[in-house]
Amino acid sequence: MRPAGRGPVRWAAEIALGGYRSVLLGALTGLLPAVGVTVGVGGWRFASSWSDRLTAPLPVRVLAACGEALMTAVWVAAALWIVGVLLARPIAQTCRRLAGRWLGLRLAVEYPPPVPVVQMATGYWWDGTEYHSSEREARRRAAMNARFHTPQLRYDGLWLAAAAVTVLPAVAVPLTTLGAGAYLLSRPGLPVAGAALVVLGVLLAPFGWRVFGPVAAALLGRTPRDRRDERVERLEAIRTDLTRTQAAELERIERGLHDGPQARLVALGMSMGAAERLIESDPAAARAILSEARAASATALSELRSLVRGIDPPVLVERGLVDAVRALALDAPLSVEVRAALPGRPERPIEAAVYFAIAELLANAAKHAHAAHVDVDLGYADGTLTGTVADDGTGGAAPSPGSGLAGIERRLAAFDGRLDIDSPSGGPTRITLAVPCVLS
């Protein structure tokens, strides 16, 4: 969010804002280093006091100093660890909120909720990793596990460490310059140098904190593992969906064959048999049966034809996507203009998915949007096949669950494709589908 206004007003606002943000970020990111330095300095004073009155040869004194330094290091590490574990999450969350408010970065991550505890048949309570004799204890442990035994905590800790060496120095420069200038001004002697430092600090104020943006974007967002998990989840959903769709399709085809052509062929065979028996005794009746049989075979053929059209439209096989879409346009009950520029043919499954998607979109335009004219554009650029269906209908199309649009979205998702719907209520509707693919 940038301050409004122009000229000096704007500069003043930028400087004030920069100063405020620098102070806030300095406090947040400086907490851990402050703890480390305090414990380090205090610990060293305390530890070095042990050897204050030591009178011994030099090697012994060096050895003692080393031991004291080691002791101090242990205290510093322990202090940082405790503070880090306790504060990493609230500080990281605050920084995420600030990044969202100041820079519009969306860095939400998910912290796992505590595992629900269950009572086992033995009477003990299971918290996901261990058994406990009381429910309260199990709940407490589950909450602790969720709070502290999560990979996200490590990433938050990493943020604290990284911010201490990047954000902290960057926000410290204008603040310390300003502070040093003010100090010099308050003392007699160096008013010019003090004023210069104050001016420098003021001028630096709008810039120092900006390093926060890129560092936060790199470290505070979702972790690679989260992103991978999400992708796996999405792919699993697609796979389940595909399996289900495929099964339903096969069932539809099976039913179509069973109820239609198969039944008619049986009837045909029976009619032939009857005609065979009647041909001597009653040629007229035999002829009637045979002509009926011929009609039945014609019906069987037309049933097979419509079934085939739903599986793999013949024009698509014979001519490819562009002409198949042209054929669709000709058959559509509204005026459709097709513009297409494809330098080759996509793979067959993608071709079919795009064809059926456009067929459905055209049907929607006629049925739901009551459109009179539709423009269909097919194009290929940057390894992506795009199809746009734009109508002059009533609009308001949305991919509600179970709708045709949701179905198209799912089918395209199988090829990493996507569907963009722009359909304000009142129209017009413009739907774009894009599928990454290679043309041959």
């Binding site: 011929r294 075979s297 014609a298 053929l301 037309s302 034809r305 085939v308 059209r309 013949p314 024009v315 096989v317 014979e318 001519r319 002409d323 042209r326 054929a327 000709l330 058959d331 009950p333 509204l334 005026s335």
Partner: protein, 215 residues
């Protein structure tokens, strides 16, 4: 008549050959691939019966062979057979306005008499479009005004003309006198702006004019 048959399914090819011979025609070539069909068509038979989908690609080889041959020999009578009919193909076939075009579902072979009738019409330079494709071609809602000028009755006459029926046959179908039909056809030609020409060609052009205006 000298007939060429191009069809990849042996049973159907054999059946077509026997059917043509039973009606007293000579089958000069019975082929089963696209390139062979093109060669046979180039010999200029009196009529050719060609399947849309032929080897080696099993796409629209037959159709392409027919279109190529008709570019070289304008008006070469070809009857296209297919498992499905598409207006897209019908428009491509009719586009040159030369007549001598048939486009039928394979199902129509079941009725030998009607099928051979269609073959004869195509050989005579007329059209024999499948009723299914005619319905698709002419059955769309009107958007262009000149077409709305055709009355319901005139439209059904035009549909039967597109199927390739003669005035006598149309009169029989619509239970009207032949004189009435010839009055209707004259009005249709006038409305669609199709001038004097040989009768068959005029009929094809009337259908084409209708389709063009429909676009």
């Amino acid at each position: 008549m000298r007939v060429v048959v191009a069809e990849d399914l042996f049973l159907l090819r054999d059946g077509l050959v026997r059917l043509a011979e039973a009606y007293g025609h000579t089958v000069v070539a019975a082929v089963d691939t696209g390139p062979a069909a093109l060669d046979a068509l180039r010999t200029g038979p009196d009529v050719a019966i060609v399947d849309v989908r032929l080897p080696p690609t099993y796409t629209d080889e037959g159709l392409q062979a027919a279109l190529t041959a008709r570019r070289e020999l304008p008006g070469l009578p070809v009857l296209i057979l297919s498992q499905h009919v598409e207006q897209l193909y019908a428009r491509e076939l009719l586009a040159d306005g030369n007549g001598g075009i048939g486009y039928q579902l394979k199902d129509r072979v079941l009725d030998a008499g009607q099928f051979m009738d269609a073959v004869d019409r195509v050989a005579a330079g007329g059209t024999a479009l499948d009723p299914t494709v005619v319905a698709k071609l002419l059955g769309r809602p009107h958007r262009a005004d000149p077409l709305a000028a055709l009355t319901e009755r005139e439209r059904s006459v035009l549909e039967l003309m597109a199927e390739g029926l003669s005035n006598t046959a149309i009169a029989g179908r619509l239970f009207l006198s032949e004189g009435a039909i010839s009055k209707y056809t004259t009005t249709i030609f006038a409305k669609l702006g199709v001038g004097a020409d040989t009768d068959t060609n005029r009929r094809v052009r009337a259908v084409l004019a209708y389709l063009d205006a429909d676009r």
